[in-house]
């Protein structure tokens, strides 16, 4: 084979390798960007973000992964995404439906509510028949070690927001967790509803949020799978100009 032919083969082979790498990278990036971003618009100077965390999900590939869902404010449909946007410098009222059972925090310090207005959350638990278990409780601490009452957490570290998300009553929810995803209050599982508020930052940008409970069951240290994947237990809150 001549030198020219060999050089041509080498260049073609190199370009093929580059092409494969670029394809894989673009495919990966393209897959990640398929997650929809739910846009919450301000009304009367505040927005209402609604999330739920479930013990499973309605995907075909990884149905056993715990996950967050985000509610579309217009259609009220639950979207399997953890990307949402809120306007800057606005009061954000958050409601999280906790359908997943309790998991003790690795560091019980995260049971302390931080960064919300008044440093509190309001929690109410319901049984599987959608009956409330007592009155709503406003608290600055959910002690997951004493009562096993935290399902996950909602943390935006860059904003100093750390919120333990209440789980259904531990005794009441054993073998009574919702099994059809996304869950609803009438889908036959015990659950908890938690509300809190914070002021979105005036600086626009993407703020990551995550769960601080190692809830990636079956993975090393519980921090694999859903804990490491956008759209499941990690996401971004985009703060956009009003």
């Amino acid at each position: 084979m001549s030198v020219t032919a060999r050089a041509a083969v080498l260049i073609v082979a190199f370009l093929c390798v580059v092409g494969v790498v670029v394809f894989v990278a673009l495919y990966y990036i393209g897959s990640a960007s398929q997650l929809p971003t739910v846009a919450y618009k301000a009304s009367d100077g505040q927005v209402h973000v609604v999330l739920q965390e479930d013990p499973g999900n309605n995907s075909t590939t990884t149905p056993s992964w715990v996950t967050y869902y985000t509610q579309d404010p217009t259609t009220k449909q639950w979207l399997h995404t953890t990307l949402f946007s809120v306007p800057a410098d606005t009061r954000v009222d958050v409601t999280i439906y906790g359908y997943d059972g309790c998991t003790p925090l690795r560091n019980n310090y995260w049971g302390q509510v931080q960064g919300t207005l008044g440093r509190v959350v309001t929690v109410r638990q319901f049984d599987k028949n959608n009956h409330p278990l007592g009155s709503p409780v406003t608290t600055s601490l959910i002690n997951s070690w004493a009562h096993c009452s935290v399902g996950h957490t909602f943390a935006i570290p860059d904003l100093g927001i750390y919120v333990p998300v209440a789980s259904p009553n531990a005794q009441n929810s054993v073998n009574n967790l919702c099994g059809t995803f996304p869950c609803t209050p009438t889908s036959g599982g015990a659950y908890a509803v938690e509300t809190f508020s914070f002021i979105s930052p005036s600086k626009t940008g993407s703020y990551r949020w995550q769960c601080l409970i190692p809830c990636g069951g079956g993975f090393l240290n519980g921090n694999g799978g859903p804990m490491q994947t956008l759209g499941w237990m990690a996401g971004f809150m985009d703060v956009v100009a009003t």
Binding site: S64, G111, A146, P157
Partner: protein
């Protein structure tokens, strides 16, 4: 024409010529080395990382300056001689003769061996001293540190005294928290420190291996689960700094940062006391485990016995995170 064929008077003249050039070379090398040393010491040194915010950072800055000054003559000598041989020993046009045969040179060999040995010994002695004097140079020394920073170990911390401040650094995916045992074991997401105070960091992890890296403090220590890794420093200046994780630990490793502040001793005392009081009032202090040098997150003794015995919530012995850590539900 070989050197053997050069007439004796010419050889003597050539030797004198070489000797003169050698001395010029040495003089130029000394002058350049001196100039480089002065530039490094007076111009570069004050701006070298990591700055002089703490005793350990100050020592690291000094170390880099000294090592740069030590290395400058070596690299200058190499480049100077490289340029010299390029000019002097180059083949002239039309000169196809062999080079001068080399039969060894005792002076050159002795100089080389003594010089390199001296450099290595100097680096060994300097490095050792600079590891010992600043009590580990801000690096994690493991659970039983050999070189300790002077300071009184006290149950509480008082401004103005020589009390050592104990700070526990807890890493987990993907956040840092800091525990202050001398303030009731209160915990914080920010690392506030008093100035002019000897500080002991107890670095540990609740899950995988992280690395506590407070760059401006000149402190870096691996955070290993079930290991108490001790590092020392003493802040010399007030101001903000950032803590980063320096061990790839998962998807949010790059975002595993936290803020820190070095403040006056009085301000620190006020801050720490206020956080302690708030966490006590909120019940956080009671909810935290008793302060220990390490924590096993698979064991949660506080979990109520009634819940422990409920299948599906915890394992029978009260351990939640079993070998599967946790297993698939």
């Amino acid at each position: 024409m070989s050197s053997a064929e050069i007439p004796a008077p010419d050889r003597q003249q050539a030797a004198e010529h070489d000797s003169r050039r050698t001395w010029w070379l040495i003089a130029a090398w000394l002058a350049l080395s001196l100039a480089a040393g002065l530039v490094i010491w007076f111009v570069w040194y004050p701006h070298l990382p990591p700055g002089d915010m703490t005793s350990s950072a100050r020592h690291q800055q000094f170390d880099i300056a000294v090592l740069a000054i030590s290395a400058a003559p070596v690299i200058l000598g190499v480049f100077l001689y490289f340029g010299y041989v390029l000019v002097v020993f180059r083949a002239r046009p039309g000169d196809d003769s062999d080079g001068t045969p080399i039969f060894g040179n005792v002076k050159v060999q002795a100089t080389w061996i003594i010089g390199t040995s001296a450099i290595v010994l100097w680096l060994f002695v300097f490095g050792t001293v600079e590891l010992i004097v600043p009590a580990g140079a801000g690096a994690g020394e493991g659970a039983s540190p050999i070189w300790k920073l002077p300071g009184a170990k006290t149950a509480s911390w008082t401004p103005g005294a020589d009390d050592m401040l104990q700070v526990q650094v807890i890493g987990q995916q993907w956040a840092w928290t800091y525990r202050y045992p001398q303030f009731g074991g209160m915990e914080s997401t920010v690392l506030d420190l008093p100035v002019n105070t000897p500080i002991t960091f107890h670095v540990t992890s609740l899950d995988v291996i992280h690395s506590f890296w407070a760059y401006l403090l000149g402190v870096k220590a691996d955070a290993n689960p079930l290991v108490d890794n001790v590092a020392y420093t003493m802040a010399r200046q007030t101001g903000p700094f950032t803590v980063r994780c320096n061990e790839l630990c998962g998807i949010w490793h790059g975002a595993m940062t936290s803020a820190g502040n070095v403040m006056s001793q009085t301000t620190f005392k006020l801050w720490a006391t206020a956080v302690q009081a708030r966490e006590k009032a909120d019940g956080v202090l009671a909810a935290l485990p008793a302060y220990a040098l390490t924590y096993d997150p698979t064991v949660i003794p506080q979990l109520g016995k009634d819940l422990v015995n409920v299948a599906g919530i915890t394992g029978a012995p009260g351990y939640y995170y079993g070998p599967g850590n946790p297993v698939t539900p």
